[in-house]
Subunit: 159 residues, 3 copies
């Protein structure tokens, strides 16, 4: 038992892997925050997607008028979906990258820039900032993921 545990925790003792664990957790928590912001706007704007969510506003037509879309809710939802589309590749490719033996300095650079770019993307989406603010923050995160993918394929390619 304890021998096995030691071998397992080895992974988490590696600095590159610890950096991956830290930044992945941060960026996933940031993504999870989008659910709370959506809920906040749904409640303050009274705009819901499900009949059972409006039951507390009364019965019939009175409740039905809150079954609607709201621009602020939709904006957060688009930001949330964009997170999924970009953080899922980071989760997978980042893990493989962390296991491909990169230099600690290079790995930290990748993880930090990606995390910073996604946080900037969220601010750019929600404030919203004029373009190309959101576009650039998206592109930076995208480029970091491509760079990690290149390293993974260079190290591990087995077709």
């Amino acid at each position: 038992r304890s021998g096995e545990m030691a071998k397992l925790t080895q992974l988490i003792d590696n600095e590159v892997f610890r950096a991956y664990a830290t930044y992945t957790t941060i960026v996933l928590l940031k993504m999870m925050l989008m659910s709370l912001i959506t809920a906040y706007f749904r409640i303050t704007r009274k705009a819901f997607a499900n009949a059972e969510d409006t039951a507390s506003f009364g019965k019939g037509e009175n409740a039905k008028k809150y079954l609607r879309t709201d621009p602020d809710v939709e904006r957060v939802r688009r930001g949330h979906l964009n997170d999924l589309e970009n953080i899922v590749p980071f989760l997978g490719i980042g893990l493989l990258y962390a296991l491909s033996g990169p230099e600690l300095y290079t790995a930290l650079l990748h993880f930090r820039i990606f995390t910073g770019a996604r946080i900037a993307h969220t601010f750019a989406y929600l404030i919203p900032l004029p373009q190309p603010g959101r576009g650039l923050s998206w592109a930076v995160g995208y480029a970091v993921t491509i760079s990690m993918a290149y390293k993974v394929l260079k190290t591990a390619l087995y077709l």
Copy 2:
């Protein structure tokens, strides 16, 4: 070759990791089930998103009327998207948590409650149950993920 394999399977021999593998597979299979339920409602409600999917109903206007949204289809799709938003963080944070050396008992508690909460969330969404049924099941899964994230950051933090 066989030496390497032994070291690799080490991971899958660890009880915490096996529990993670089991519950992650269950919860991902549950998410995949949403695709089949969506297909079931699309076919029985005759509500499709793509013109090529309605071709078997004939040509022209006759087929075009099935290019529409249906409340039951949309409900399953919202449940599916909610799964993605919540199971992706579990997949990533749960893996890092499993590698951070938690007690087996505590890890099992986290994995079991998360899996139970997501199954309950699906029932609450599809039946549908009156609120706060769905809200509570969502919040329980969310809280379990936050708890695992806390353990990961406490063990591995490397900024």
Copy 3:
């Protein structure tokens, strides 16, 4: 330090794991390509979701008319979401499968068929091919994931 690194890179030296790393990276890059195709159609069809994206077309009503949905844009977005729904399970279950000690030949078969099926699915969605082209390519990827899930549960089950 260097001892730890050796143990870590062990994983990436394993042939099954290298195959997983290769095909997962390819399929995630394919999914990321959907973002570029969406951007391409948004720009050429002039169909945007955010007011700040249309600012370069002028002010007021002139810009507002580009805040609209377009069938080509929506088609790519449906393909992208379908990727998320199917590649996320592959990412998680595939990793656990790669760690469950499958035969190299069997593992390669799973990874190659899944990757081929998802590439075929994208072509079927975007051309679009008549059904059951898209449906079949989706079902093949789905079946491969189920097969890997079965192997994971058979090897690792710990409830």
